[in-house]
């Protein structure tokens, strides 16, 4: 996984709350068996609308998505993260994320930074008044900078460490393979098995 320390790129204001993963990538695009090539599927239903933010030239090359509260609700599809990454997003900022989406993002190196809704509103205003304005997401300093705004960003310590080191979870867990074996030896025999 690529390390994430800080990133600067064009901010994209997405003034919707409750952006569920069906909106991020509709189910018809989930049929592929690969991990890449989902960029065209991102926000597919909304991309047909000329006024949609990603269809405006100043935002097309955006890499920091600034979204309303409860981003990533609904289906567990990790394709939502792949689609955002394939499009070119490195970070999503919101005042509240759905749990599964946040977990999926952390595993794929997409930063989900929590900001206060007040700071999100301030950044939206800047991005809408000056389309193409860049946003810096600084994971090391745990802050977001945009024009003269400096907003504290909350990311839990462990996720921050993993992202900054670019570590993959399975590799980390394999270091405790003996503990897993010990646990298995103590499992009650009445627990079910799928194979007979």
């Amino acid at each position: 996984m690529e390390k994430f320390i800080r990133h600067t790129g064009v901010g994209v204001p997405l003034r919707y709350s409750n952006v569920d993963t069906d909106q991020i990538i509709p189910a018809v695009y989930l049929k592929r068996v690969t991990r890449t090539g989902f960029e065209d599927a991102l926000f597919a239903a909304w991309r047909g609308d000329e006024t949609f933010v990603l269809n405006q030239p100043a935002f097309r090359s955006g890499s920091v998505l600034v979204a309303g509260p409860d981003f990533g609700t609904g289906s567990s599809r990790e394709h939502a993260v792949w689609a955002l990454k394939d499009y070119g997003f490195k970070a999503v900022l919101s005042s509240r994320f759905a749990d599964i989406f946040r977990g999926n993002s952390g595993k794929q190196g997409l930063l989900t930074g929590e900001l206060s809704q007040d700071d999100i509103e301030l950044i939206w205003k800047v991005l809408e008044n000056e389309p193409g304005t860049e946003v810096t997401v600084d994971l090391e300093q745990r802050e977001v900078r945009c024009a003269d705004i400096v907003a504290p960003m909350s990311v839990d310590d462990y996720t921050r460490w993993r992202l900054m080191e670019g570590l993959d979870d399975i590799g980390l867990t394999y270091r405790h393979i003996d503990a897993i074996g010990d646990y298995e030896a103590s499992r009650p025999s009445h627990k079910p098995r799928t194979l007979v």
């Binding site: 003034r15 919707y16 709350s17 409750n18 569920d20 069906d22 909106q23 509709p26 189910a27 018809v28 989930l30 049929k31 592929r32 068996v33 690969t34 991990r35 239903a45 309303g68 509260p69 409860d70 609700t73 609904g74 289906s75 567990s76 599809r77 990790e78 394709h79 993260v81 509240r96 994320f97 759905a98 749990d99 599964i100 977990g103 999926n104 595993k107 794929q108 839990d156 310590d157 462990y158 979870d169 399975i170 980390l172 867990t173 394999y174 405790h176 393979i177 503990a179 897993i180 646990y183 298995e184 499992r187 009650p188 025999s189 009445h190 627990k191 079910p192 098995r193 799928t194 194979l195």
Partner: protein, 470 residues
């Protein structure tokens, strides 16, 4: 201080705990389907890793599968590729699979319980957010992403941070005509689609205790629609009776040992929840959604709300957008909303009890002329059981289409979709924009409301049919 049910199950599965790191949690049962697994298997293959515990893993085909002509090759090439990929992966990694046409095929969250694999006190995961369904048995069950699927396949564990706990006290008893679906829609409307984020919900109280396992599954199923990854109900005699005798239920001495353990799986009297919510089941009417998220719901007797009536600016804006998408006007009585399609099925309401409830309403009637009615059993076994009971004949004589098992129109990955602008009353779990087909409009309802709606052609409850007959 005592522990909550969720904390007891969590603590019993901790493999490793370290300061500043997530707990490493052991997973007892991993359910797999074709949509969220191909990239996980590919990851294993690329890293030269094996599946650690094929004997704790089970796969079924559900999201993509057609519900007609299941003996013919799947017409959609990409769907077929995904199904074939799952079959190849299960073969290669030694995982038991119930493919299309098999007696045990069906929606993953219907299959686990029906085989007796879902049991109290287990940790259950699946690459599907409605894994919360299995919490109805007192299991800690939650949806995971594809990277986590790969992690569980490789290690049978997951690194996780403890959840907070929330008690949902459902007091009183449901009135006739109100169901488990109305309880959970009312809970979501009350706490919001983000209200449960970071929590495990434990449903408690008199109303919950009197519910069947099927109804408990309906409630736990939609915990995710309240933002919670998991919902749980403490196991009791209803739970034990449901499991006993199923193919994977413990037997003999193992059964006794299991039940003894299961009886300890209840929240201690002196345990404290991080949050508590109470609703009165005796006040609940049938609930329907009017908007594009599951929190936008109201009793059937209400009218489409005026966005101006929302104090919160975000909620007002969301309501405006929702009404525009749903093509609804404020003040329209919900009962006047006409639908094109009624969908009865899904992991929320595709079990035998749901089909029986719907069949009892439509028996001896004819569907409204301009409404298409799809009945899709949650599993092949549910379909067979319904046919034994003659429910298929009831539905067919009513004018409904009697289909094969799968996720079907809940998410429209197979050909069962709404056309743009079409409106449905659906017993499924999500009314998101385009969920049931691009441009489709969804009203979430209980099986009773779905059935009555298919008779009248507008959103209705069974009571409306009786008053019309008088």
């Amino acid at each position: 201080m005592g522990k909550t049910l969720a904390e007891k199950v969590w603590d019993a599965h901790v493999v490793r705990q370290a300061e500043g790191e997530p707990d490493l949690l052991y997973i007892d049962l991993h359910l797999v389907h074709e949509v969220t697994s191909p990239q996980a298997f590919e990851g294993l293959r690329l890293a030269g890793r094996k599946v650690r515990r094929p004997d704790l893993t089970l796969a079924t085909e559900d999201h993509n599968t057609p519900t007609v002509d299941i003996d013919k090759p799947i017409a959609d090439i990409t769907s077929r590729t995904q199904i074939e990929t799952l079959r190849r992966n299960c073969e290669e990694f030694g995982i038991r699979l119930h493919p299309l046409g098999d007696a045990e095929q069906g929606i993953v969250h219907v299959v686990g319980p029906q085989l007796g694999l879902t049991q109290p006190g287990l940790t259950v995961v699946c690459g599907d957010s409605h894994t919360s369904t299995h919490g109805a048995f007192g299991a800690l069950a939650f949806g995971i992403g594809t990277s986590e699927v790969e992690h569980v396949l490789a290690t049978q564990t997951l690194p996780l941070r403890p959840f907070k706990t929330m008690a949902i006290n459902v007091e009183g008893q449901l009135k006739p005509g109100s169901t488990a679906k109305d309880i959970i829609l009312a809970v979501i409307a009350k706490i919001g689609t983000g209200g449960g984020q970071g929590y495990v919900l434990e449903y408690r109280g008199e109303a919950i205790r009197s519910l069947s396992m099927e109804s408990r599954m309906t409630i736990c199923n939609m915990s995710i629609e309240a933002g919670a990854r998991a919902g749980m109900i403490a196991p009791d005699e209803t739970t034990f009776a449901y499991i006993e005798g199923r193919p994977h239920a413990p037997q003999g001495k193992e059964w006794d040992a299991a039940v003894e353990y299961w009886k300890t799986l209840r929240t201690d009297d002196d345990a404290e929840f991080d949050a508590e919510v109470t609703i009165d089941a005796s006040e609940l009417e049938p609930f329907v959604t009017w908007g594009t998220n599951p929190g936008q719901g109201l009793p059937l007797s209400a009218s489409v709300p005026d966005p101006e009536s929302f104090a919160d600016e975000g909620a007002r804006y969301a309501a405006e957008r929702a009404l525009q998408y749903m093509d609804l006007k404020p003040g329209t009585p919900l009962r006047d909303i006409a639908v094109d399609t009624v969908f009865i099925g899904s992991c929320t309401n595709g079990r035998i009890e749901d089909l029986r409830a719907a069949a009892a309403v439509v028996k001896g009637r004819r569907k409204a002329d301009n409404v298409r009615v799809l009945v899709v059993p949650g599993s092949h076994r549910v379909r067979m059981q319904a046919e034994e009971e003659g429910l298929d004949t009831v539905f067919k004589e009513f004018g409904a289409e009697w289909r094969h098992a799968g996720c079907s129109m809940c998410l429209g990955m197979n050909p069962d979709q709404l056309a743009p602008g079409e409106r449905s009353a659906s017993t499924s779990n999500r009314n998101f924009e385009g969920r049931q087909g691009k441009g489709g409009r969804t009203h979430l309802v209980s099986p009773l409301v779905a059935a009555a709606t298919s008779v009248r052609g507008t959103l209705s409850s069974p009571a409306d049919l009786e008053s019309a007959a008088n």
